[in-house]
Each structure stands twice: as structure tokens, then as C-alpha cells.
């Protein structure tokens, strides 16, 4: 069984990457794999905003994020990238860590494979 880490650098809704991320995690668990953590980096930090309002007819990505957190998956954002984008700790979805790159390193050190959704 494989333990995955995910690095996400893109915003939700502009790109399909976040949708794919959640689908991949679901598929990984169905196959008996696990997840060391998800790290939102650069523009990817927007994924963790609790202020996202979901329109009708589009995927509810905040709900999917919450399910992931509720499942016990470690989810963190880069705090420096967040500050650059006006995202404060209080703006984050419940259970998401306002973290540093050391956290990403820690997630990596517990993973077998890294999957990156880059810029």
C-alpha cells in the first residue's frame, strides 16, 4: 500500500486540479492506500479559504475539502503564500493548518509518493 503526499499550486475553479485532487484521494482510499497530507502552496492556498461561495451547477469544492479534513487527512497551507494573497488564518476552512514549508517537508518525509499539481 502506498502513502501519498499532494502539493497543489493552483486555484480552484480556474483549473480542474482541485477536483482531480479530491477524486484521486477518494480513489486512493478505495484501493486501500493512504494520504500523508495535502499542502496548498502559492496560488493553491485559495483552496483552503472558508469564504468560497459555491454557485449552482459547479462542484462543491469546500465541501469536499471538509470531508477530507473530517476523514483525518492532514491539510496545510503555506502561511507566507497566504499572506501575499490576503488570506489570514481566520479565513481558513476548519481543520486546515496555517503552516510553513517545514510542514510540507514533514508531510513529504512520511510519504512514499508525491503528486504535484504545479503552476
Amino acid at each position: 500500500m502506498v502513502k501519498f503526499a499532494f502539493l497543489v499550486c493552483t486555484v480552484p475553479y480556474t483549473f480542474q486540479n482541485t477536483d482531480t485532487l479530491y477524486d484521486m484521494i477518494e480513489a486512493a482510499y478505495e484501493l486501500g492506500h493512504s494520504v500523508a497530507g495535502v499542502f496548498f502552496f502559492v496560488d493553491g492556498v485559495i483552496n483552503a479559504s472558508r469564504k468560497i461561495k459555491v454557485a449552482k451547477g459547479v462542484p462543491n469544492l469546500p465541501e469536499k475539502l471538509q470531508k477530507m479534513v473530517d476523514k483525518g487527512i492532514r491539510v496545510a497551507v503555506c502561511s507566507t503564500c497566504s499572506e501575499y494573497r490576503g488570506l489570514e488564518e481566520a479565513d481558513l476552512a476548519h481543520g486546515v493548518d496555517y503552516a510553513s514549508l517545514m510542514t510540507f517537508g514533514d508531510i513529504l518525509s512520511q510519504a512514499d509518493k508525491l503528486i504535484t499539481f504545479g503552476l
Partner: protein
């Protein structure tokens, strides 16, 4: 188990995006978690290594300062020779950095085999 060695690939030019600066932050940041980090500049990424960059008109610091972080953290810097040649860049025009090694495509092949994770952002 676990990722112990990563290669961060820089293949985009500096200043046009945050890719190189953020990649450098990432490559140095993970070393705190005892992960060995190595970087590779190739394709348009080699422009980041040119000396005499004057980025103040962009309101940005020259990328050379960020590169110093790599050196301070013991990160090996590799540069693909073919990318320099194809862009008409001489090694003499590059920043003089410790830990910097110019490598051939053959050496790149060997390098790639040494990492648990290889990625670019």
C-alpha cells in the same frame, strides 16, 4: 519509507511568474525537515542564473539573493549545459555561485535516478 531526497526543477524564466522564487523557498524550506534537496535549472530556467540582472524596475529584488538561500542551506545547484548552449549563454555570463555544477544530458540521466521525488512548480 518516506521521501528523503528531492530534485526541484526550474524550467521557467524568472520574474514572469513566481515559479522560481517559490521553488527556491520550497527547496530550502524542506531541508529543515531533514530532506536533502537538490535543484536543476534547465530550459528557460537558466535565465535566472545570469549575472547583471537589474530587476528594480519591476519592484523586485534580483533573483541572485534568493539563490544565496540555496547555497546557505547546502543545496546543490545543477545547470543543464544544453539549455545554456541553445540560448547562447556562456558559462562566463552566469552568476558565480558555490555549489553550482554544469551538467550534460548524460549526467542529467544519471542525476535523475538519485531522487525519491522530482518535480517543478
Amino acid at each position: 519509507m518516506g521521501v528523503h531526497r528531492i530534485l526541484v526543477v526550474f524550467n521557467k524564466s524568472p520574474y514572469g511568474s513566481a515559479s522560481i522564487v517559490e521553488g527556491i523557498r520550497l527547496a530550502t524550506g524542506v531541508t529543515v525537515a531533514d530532506i536533502e534537496s537538490v535543484v536543476l535549472f534547465m530550459d528557460d530556467g537558466v535565465f535566472a542564473l545570469m549575472e547583471n540582472q537589474h530587476s528594480s524596475s519591476l519592484g523586485l529584488l534580483p533573483i541572485g539573493g534568493s539563490l544565496e538561500y540555496l547555497i546557505d542551506n547546502g543545496v546543490q545547484i545543477n545547470v543543464l549545459k544544453d539549455s545554456l548552449v541553445s540560448r547562447g549563454i556562456s558559462v562566463n555570463n552566469l552568476l558565480k555561485l558555490n555549489n553550482m555544477k554544469i551538467i550534460s544530458l548524460t549526467e542529467l540521466g544519471t542525476l535523475l535516478l538519485q531522487f525519491d521525488v522530482i518535480f517543478s512548480i
